[in-house]
């Protein structure tokens, strides 16, 4: 009996595909290579933008906005929050201790090392989380993660770290690598009714308009946090940025500082390693 020609063709194709499938199933994640590829992508996409300028988000992409911003920066709208943050940071808790007791170097000039992977806990610890843990350890009620006090405190801590390059470390620990990988997956996964991933806007389309806004590049996007957004008429933290991004794509935001968001912050900060802290920032 003759074999049907179509079947023999299929057999030939299968024979070709088989070796590819047999190749190693998953390669070991390589964050250093990821970060390099990520940064090279933006350098290539925007050859006219200086590397350090990516931290200025939409202002690195649009000349008109840049002019307005430069004028605004002479009198930045985050100034009140900055002053309040400094006052809060220095004011002792009821037990006499201060925030400085919870952080390396008294909390000054350390923003660029957050988030870090805590090997005891096996999880990522962000600056916002560390601040609330510091409060709770000293018998104070935690703050809301999204704005007001938390934004003022992180604004002051970012301000004391301005110009220092992001220095996020991924220790040689499988759990740290997993957290990084989960953050990466979150970043590239589409969600919400609009079916957008973080990357749809901030990797594929930075510099383009989404309605009236100019999209910021993902590279360096966290360096400017927290930000005063004119749209919010106030300050917002990284938690606020993540939750509002999720609701704007008509998804359901997660709880601020949930593990997914912390992993996402870990990934997104790591791939911006080397770029200077510029927070607090001002955005339209």
């Amino acid at each position: 009996m003759r074999i049907h020609p179509a079947l023999s063709f299929l057999a030939a194709v299968l024979a070709l595909v088989a070796p590819a499938v047999a190749a190693p199933a998953a390669e070991k994640p390589d964050p250093a290579a990821d970060a390099k590829a990520f940064q090279d992508f933006f350098r290539k996409k925007f050859p006219q933008v200086k590397f350090e300028d990516f931290v200025n988000g939409p202002y690195s992409m649009n000349e008109d906005m840049r002019k307005q911003w430069e004028e605004k920066e002479q009198f930045p709208p985050y100034e009140f929050a900055l002053e309040a943050g400094k006052e809060m940071f220095e004011k002792p808790f009821k037990n006499g201790k201060t925030y400085a007791d919870c952080f390396a170097n008294g909390g000054i000039g350390i923003r660029q090392t957050y988030p870090y992977f805590d090997d005891k806990e096996g999880k990522v610890v962000t600056l916002e989380l560390a601040l609330n843990r510091c409060r709770e350890a000293n018998g104070e009620a935690p703050y809301s993660y999204v704005k007001d006090e938390m934004a003022a405190l992180t604004a002051y801590m970012a301000y004391t770290s301005r110009g220092k390059p992001f220095d996020i470390k991924i220790p040689d620990d499988p759990r740290a690598l997993e957290a990084y990988e989960r953050g990466k997956e979150y970043f590239y996964t589409r969600r919400g009714q609009l079916n957008f991933s973080c990357a749809s806007c901030h990797v594929q389309n930075p510099g383009e308009r989404i309605r009236a806004e100019i999209l910021a590049p993902a590279l360096g996007i966290l360096n400017a946090m927290p930000i005063y957004r004119s749209e919010w008429s106030g300050m917002g933290t990284i938690s606020r940025r993540f939750t509002t991004c999720n609701s704007q794509i008509r998804g359901v935001p997660l709880e601020p500082q949930s593990e997914e968001y912390r992993d996402l912050e870990y990934y997104l900060s790591y791939v911006s390693n080397g770029l200077p802290i510029s927070g607090p920032g001002a955005r339209p």
């Binding site: 002479q74 009198f75 709208p77 009140f80 002053e83 006052e87 008429s233």
Partner: protein
Amino acid sequence: MASSIRVRAIQNGDVTDVQTLIQHPMDTGLIKDAKGELIPAHFIQQLTFEHNGKTVFLADWGTAVSKDPYVKFAFKGGAKGDDLKVSWVDNKGATDSLTAKIQ
């Protein structure tokens, strides 16, 4: 309590450039809070800049001005070292003022 006013006045030739940032909620009275209750109107009604006691800028404001308003203007007749007094009064009668030197 820190002042609600930030001001910077810089002499450029015969013109003084003034920039001001004021911290104020500027509530319109049309917005509801989380409980669904109206937040009563609370806004700056009058903003005054005085140069050596003479008013150089007077603004009558309503609810259409944004929260934490920013004002920039220029006037002639100032000189380095002169006093520039900024003051505001809101619809609840609250007030604040600050005197800065022209730089």
